[in-house]
Amino acid sequence: MRKEVISSYQLFAMIVLFEFGTALVVPIGLESGHAVWVSILMALPGGIILYLIYNYLYLEFPTMNISGYTQKILGKYIGWTLSLLYIPVLLFNGSRNLREAGDLLIAASYDQTPVFIINSMMVIAVMYTLYKGIEVFARSAEIYFFVIILMGLICNFVVIAAGLVDLKNLFPLHSKDWKDALASAYPNILIFPFGELVCFTTIFPHFNKSHKARRAGVMAIVLSGLLLCFTHAIEIAVLGENIYSRSTFPIFTTITLVNLANFIQRLDALVILALVVGVFFKMSIYCYAVMSVTADLFKVREIRNLTLPVGIVVLFSSIVSAESYPVHMDEGKVFLKYILPILCAVIPLLLVIVHYIRKKFGLYR
């Protein structure tokens, strides 16, 4: 089989879409009140450092994904066991994204439709794309990058033009706000959405110009971080801290308030579209990461054959994992606090340190 390749622009588009996935829609970093936008900016340098860690590992082992070099660095047995951890966690995280999208769609307009139907449609789309291969997926990211940016521009423009933004909701920032912002930036916002980029360790091996991965990735992270910061700042400026923190999907409430000249109104469809596109890419990358790690660990030759099982597990765990949206949110908090940081930051950092030591003292055979 021909090796699939991804260009640096495609990588850029994929990272941006991945970051937007759900972070654009759900309220993030609630601890920091009206200073959420500051905490996103604070988490941005951390996100770049995390990316550089993934990138360093990739440059050291350009043909392997995360499970490959974990086994190389930590030895076969420890490495294999640690890599196995990634499968359930990434699967669960992918299914959480699906659940959030399904719940917003139901809350926003499809109140009669069962969540199973909505989720399965999204999973079918994901499975179809992944079955066609990562290259096809990367090319579609190239197109949707423009679609998302265009929709974002329209949404932000109408919200500002409608005169809804009240900067009083953002300023002033007192010393307590700065502290809260820092507390929610590390580790919460650092991990979600930036730390989740650990999935890209499985996509890097398909990249054709390895020396360009760093630049494309850092640019994508900076762009997506700034846009996330801007969007959340606008949401708070429009809604105020109180409504922002109580709403399940603040961006949706923001956009329903738009009424430009009694003519441009009810733009909710744009937000839902942005969410569906974002979740599609985020979920696909999660699924691909799971497939890639599984194929590597269990020596599956044809990675495509894993599409169906992974898709079905994601679909069912999205429904079974939580009985209601509040429970889902609670689970998310625990997951974000205790499990994700280990996989997104601790293990890669450990790998870098061990690899560095082994390389320096010539401990590789």
Partner: protein
């Protein structure tokens, strides 16, 4: 190959379910579009009487006014302990399922307003159909249901007519506010109190319900905007009218355009100035335990009418008018704040402003804010400018004419 075949057949089978597609479909012909919404106190304790103004499609289909045979809307009322319960109970009376995405108006009955409205807005926030930017009004000397029943001239949909009336008067006269549910929820959750525009029926309510109400040039019943309802802890305590209402709107920085009559020499209120630009800045400080409110208003206007001789071609005379304009504005603003202080209701967002700019000071006064607010000192500073005198300089009146 076998795996591929199984995969394919499963995918095709699931895709088959896509073909049904319209799971959530609702046909336009099966919806009862609700244009306005009224909430009154129910007959029993803790019950609401919710009134719906539903559009009558056959009567509003033509663009050139309603057909003569049917009223443009029909009214349903239901009582229940929750708003949503009443909404669904109405299905017993309505042939079509009520649809709320086009609801523009929510009227709250005066008696309900007096007993507290804080708990009725949750359904508006939670629902995806109801809009947070619908206008909220409080009925005055009438219940909400009767406001919705009156058929109005010119606008075929009464709820729409009321919304436009409020917008019109808030835009050019400034005694009313365009308060929507979103702002109200922020008002309830904030530290300050809030105001809602009042609406009343002038004339005979029974006549207003009939189509024959429109058969005359001067209708027998008309819905008119009337003052601002002042709410303290979510309960209506009093009404503000005339200059007090405008002063309130002025402090809240919501004046878009207004017309003010000012004194010239010994002639009282003889010059009409149209203010078309006004900006209010408020600063709240705590000095020796007592709040100080600094209100800074910048206004620009045009002289539109004088009843006596004013030599408007001279800059000095314009300056005199500007002084008089500033005085008049200051009077209205002071009157409004003093009235609110007497009621101990902070309707000007002063508490929110203090909390925002100085959270520490707010902590120290939080407990007895209403009493402190009433004691607060007021500094009003007004910059008034007259930019133009219209199409003429000197009026046609002679200097000494009577």
């Amino acid at each position: 190959m076998r795996v591929k075949w199984i995969l394919r057949s499963v995918i095709y089978f699931v895709m088959l379910s896509l073909l049904t597609s319209c799971w959530n479909s609702r046909e336009l012909g099966e919806l009862g579009i609700v244009s306005g919404f009224g909430i009154d106190k129910g007959p029993n304790k803790d019950e609401y009487r919710v009134t719906f103004q539903v559009v009558n499609p056959s009567a509003t289909a033509t663009s050139t006014g309603a057909s003569k045979n049917h009223p443009p809307v029909t009214i349903y009322s239901s009582t229940d302990t929750t708003v949503f319960g009443a909404l669904r109970k109405t299905s017993k009376k309505a042939a079509r399922q009520l649809f709320f995405a086009h609801t523009q108006l929510v009227v709250i009955g005066e008696s309900l307003a007096r007993s507290g409205i804080n708990d009725i807005f949750d359904v508006f926030e939670r629902s995806h159909e109801l809009r947070l930017n619908s206008l909220v009004l409080v009925s005055r000397d009438a219940d909400a249901a009767s406001i919705l029943k009156v058929i109005l001239p010119i606008e075929s949909l009464p709820a729409m007519g009321i919304v436009k009336k409020n917008k019109n008067t808030a835009g050019v006269w400034g005694e009313n506010r365009d308060v929507n549910i979103f702002e109200l929820i922020n008002g309830i959750t904030g530290e300050s109190d809030f105001v809602i525009s009042g609406v009343r029926i002038n004339g005979d309510e029974q006549e207003g319900m009939k189509l024959s109400n429109l058969d005359q040039t001067e209708v027998k019943a008309l819905v008119v905007m009337s003052g601002l309802g002042v709410f303290k802890d979510g309960k209506l305590v009093d009404w503000m009218d005339g200059p007090k209402a405008r002063g309130t709107v002025w402090v809240q920085d919501k004046i878009k355009e207004t017309s003010i009559n000012i004194d010239y020499k010994n002639k009282k209120k003889s010059v009409s100035v149209d203010i078309n630009l006004s900006k209010t800045k408020v600063k709240v400080k705590i000095r020796e335990g007592i709040p100080v409110f600094d209100i800074h208003i910048k206004e620009k206007g045009i002289v539109n009418e004088t009843k006596s001789f004013v030599d408007l071609s001279k800059g000095d005379e314009i300056l005199k008018l500007e002084v008089s304009l500033a005085e008049q504005t200051k009077k209205e603003v002071t009157q409004a704040v003093e009235t609110a202080q007497r009621m101990q209701t902070d309707i000007f967002n002063f508490a929110n402003e203090l909390k925002r700019t100085n959270p520490k000071a707010w902590k120290s006064v939080e407990k007895d804010w209403p009493a402190l607010f009433a004691k607060g000192k007021l500094n009003v500073h007004i910059d008034a400018y007259i930019r133009s005198t219209g199409m003429r300089l000197k009026p046609y009146l002679k200097e000494n004419s009577k």
